[in-house]
């Protein structure tokens, strides 16, 4: 074992480092995808997915009897995509509106999952509190060997998921961008925006499974929605929005951990709350924040977007797809 590896191992053996790294990776993986959800006005689908993946996890547990099987990723992704599909089906039947459809599907699946746990899995580790709060505090206890390092299992999982999400966003950047801002043109160019959308939501499900152990189902939603929303107030460029979202996620992980240590509270909850602090800052200080607006109102003669490249990239203000928001805008 070389000295560098030993140093790295020594660093990783500190629980705090592992916890902060896991939090940061959950945040990065979630906000990379969340940026597109926010722009596509599908944020609430992440809420629905994060609830209903529990059904997938419970079903796989009942079939295999283990909570560590890689099948959980498959089961949870199916449950997540199933939620989206069922919601779509309800909307297309035109019996209920989009918002009500979301609110009908995921509680039913989540309720079924909780009851299955109640009935069949009452004595196992899969208790409902863990579902909501996560157990990031104990993540460093469960260690796997990766190459020459002993790494917390959650950390290894989240690292893999983050890399997959990063690859997805980088490789399909053009497709995602066009499918988000102009699905009509994307269809005309043969880029299959619907397929891209399902890919995105499938990865949201996978990420939710990974995050599920660490921060719990609902706090995951905070990481999907809040950092990209804060970034949305800071910039007009998609690339920067993604980068800012990741930075906010890292900052929230660090700040949240410090907060949790100081007050001895839920670490996942504190990290998720910390994203709110960044949103508040962006709300006040961002280029689309309240201070900037007040400033612009005071000095209307100043051109607001000096230095923007002329029509090189689509503006985040551009018309976003309306098909999915069910006329709620």
């Amino acid at each position: 074992m070389s000295a560098a590896v030993a140093a790295l191992q020594g660093w990783l053996d500190q629980p705090g480092v592992t916890i902060v790294l896991i939090g940061a990776l959950v945040g990065i993986a979630a906000s990379l995808l969340g940026a597109f959800l926010v722009l596509r006005r599908e944020s609430m689908l992440s809420d629905a997915i994060s609830h209903s993946i529990l059904l997938g996890i419970v079903m796989v547990y009942l079939l295999t009897g283990t909570l560590d099987s890689p099948l959980h990723v498959v089961g949870a992704s199916l449950a997540g995509l199933g939620t989206v599909w069922l919601t779509d089906l309800l909307v297309r039947s035109r019996r209920v509106k989009h918002d009500a459809a979301i609110g009908l599907v995921f509680p039913a699946l989540f309720a079924a999952a909780v009851l299955l746990i109640n009935v069949y899995a009452r004595d196992v580790h899969l208790d409902t509190d863990a579902v909501l709060l996560g157990e990031i505090a104990f993540a460093w206890l469960d260690v796997v060997r990766v190459f020459e390092l002993d790494v917390a299992r959650s950390l290894a999982t989240m690292l893999a998921i983050t890399l997959v999400n990063l690859a997805f966003v980088l490789l399909l950047f053009k497709e995602l961008k066009l499918a988000t801002f102009d699905p009509g043109l994307a269809t005309a160019l043969g880029l299959r925006p619907v397929l891209v959308g399902y890919g995105l939501l499938g990865l949201v499900s996978v990420t939710a499974v990974g995050a599920f152990d660490a921060v719990g189902a609902i706090l995951f939603v905070a990481f999907v929605i809040v950092p990209p929303t804060a970034a949305y107030l800071l910039t007009d460029r998609l690339e920067r929005m993604l980068a800012y979202g990741c930075l906010i996620a890292i900052g929230s992980s660090l700040g949240g951990y410090a907060l949790a240590r100081a007050f001895d509270v839920s670490i996942g909850g504190a990290m998720a709350s910390a994203t709110g602090v960044f949103l508040l800052l962006a709300l006040l200080l961002g280029r689309h924040g309240l201070v900037a607006r007040a400033w612009r109102r005071r000095a209307p003669e100043a051109p607001p977007h000096v230095g923007m490249p002329a029509a090189s990239a689509p503006q985040l203000d551009a018309k976003t797809p309306t098909s999915s928001d069910g006329g709620r805008a």
């Binding site: 599908e42 009908l104 009851l115 809040v226 949305y232 949103l279 928001d325 709620r328």
Partner: protein, 402 residues
């Protein structure tokens, strides 16, 4: 446990009554949320209640329902306010604003919950029950709180009925009438928050949204008028609540909230499939019977025209000829018409197969059918000119394709 014994049990009766109250209130107010397309606001409100629950507990120092409900109501209202501020003052859209509000309030709630559990001994006080609901923890004094708050909300809805109705369906019109639309919308949001909050103990913060949306969405399938929808949603809510509470009391280890939600979801599924007029299966049955009627009409008209062309009202038409006109086998259609007394078989050239003639009733009906197309309604006395296009053959071709 027997149902009678179950109902005789005092605790169970308390729980059932509480569930019925909660169901009625959330069904009635949920109707407005669903119609105003604010269903997910209910989701945000219910998740956002968690920090309020914890703060209420912290202030009261014990698990009393009234302060907890007050705290939940306040934090719910703050969450709704956050959504409003984010969507009105920034470019954040409604869905993201709801998600932000929901997840941040819930995050703060979990922080407070763990703080209380580790520092104030709330683990014993069972605040966890507010996550998924615990009907068994309902005591008669809770029932009084739920009854009073719920009753007042229902009374307010009844008092402001006309204003709420016009604001829900046409806010611009309401504004033009000089109604205080903003105040009404705010009041309605607060009332929805109230409905969410009084159900928390029974259903829990995670799933309460379902009890707001599901009864209303189900009721909408059966009725068209707001009055009916609100009443039916109240009934559906009460039925889900009581059934769920009794089931979870009878089977040990079932959390109350999920059972109630599954019952409500079942009612929605049944309504979506079977409701007269809007139900999916109902419409399927309607379409099938309409298609069958149309086939009967076509064969009837074919018979009538053939008789007309032969200037003989009692012209016996060969079944093979009708098959050719109809485009496919017409035997079953003819048998159905025969049962209704519109056509009858005649023995005419037996070696050529069955022949059919129109009865008097059948002729009358064929004339009625043709009348809207402006064809001669008189008897088949003279040969008519060959029409270029026959309207019902258009319809026939369409149907054949469909």
């Amino acid at each position: 446990m027997e149902l009678a014994a179950l109902l005789g049990d005092f605790t169970v009766r308390t729980v059932a009554l509480g569930a019925a109250l909660v169901g009625v209130v959330s069904g009635v107010l949920g109707s407005f949320a669903v119609l105003r397309q604010q269903s997910l606001l209910g989701d945000a409100l219910s998740h956002a209640a968690l920090p309020g629950v914890c703060l209420g507990f912290l202030v009261a120092g014990s698990r009393q329902l009234a302060p907890i409900l007050a705290g939940a109501l306040i934090s719910g209202a703050l969450a709704a306010l956050l959504v409003l501020v984010l969507t009105r003052t920034t470019r954040i859209k409604t869905d993201a604003a709801l998600g932000v509000s929901l997840s941040l309030f819930f995050a703060v709630g979990t922080v407070l919950l763990t703080y209380l559990q580790r520092h104030q001994g709330a683990a014993q006080a069972g605040l966890d029950a507010f996550l998924f609901g615990q009907a068994a923890a309902l005591v008669p004094s809770d029932l009084r709180v739920i009854g009073t708050v719920g009753g007042v909300s229902l009374a307010l809805v009844a008092l402001a009925w006309k204003e709420l109705k016009v604001t829900t369906f046409d806010a611009d019109f309401a504004r033009s009438l000089g109604r205080p639309v903003l105040a009404l919308e705010f009041g309605l949001t607060v009332l929805i928050a109230v409905a969410v909050v009084i159900g928390l103990q029974l259903v829990g913060v995670i799933l309460m949204v379902a009890l707001v949306i599901a009864p209303a969405a189900a009721a909408r399938q059966w009725v068209k008028r707001l009055e009916g929808m609100v009443l039916l949603a109240g009934v559906f809510g009460a039925v889900s609540g009581v059934t769920g509470a009794l089931l979870s009391a009878a089977v040990r280890g079932l959390a109350t909230g999920p059972v109630i939600v599954l019952v409500a979801s079942g009612i929605v599924l049944i309504s979506l499939l079977l409701a007269p007029g809007r139900g999916v299966l109902w419409q399927l049955v309607q379409a099938t019977s309409q298609r069958r009627n149309l086939r009967g009409h076509r064969v009837l008209v074919d018979l009538y025209r053939l008789a007309q062309d032969h200037r003989d009202p009692a012209y016996p038409t060969e079944q093979g000829m009708l098959d050719a006109y109809f485009g496919r086998r017409s035997a079953h259609v003819l048998r159905r018409l025969e049962r209704r007394g519109l056509v009858e078989r005649v023995r005419h050239m037996p070696e050529e197969g069955t022949h059919w003639v129109l009865t008097d009733v059948g002729q009358e009906q064929a004339r009625t059918l043709l009348q809207p197309f402006g064809e001669r309604a008189e008897g088949p006395a003279t040969r008519r000119e060959a029409p270029a296009v026959r309207p019902e053959s258009e319809a026939a071709r369409r149907e054949g394709r469909a």
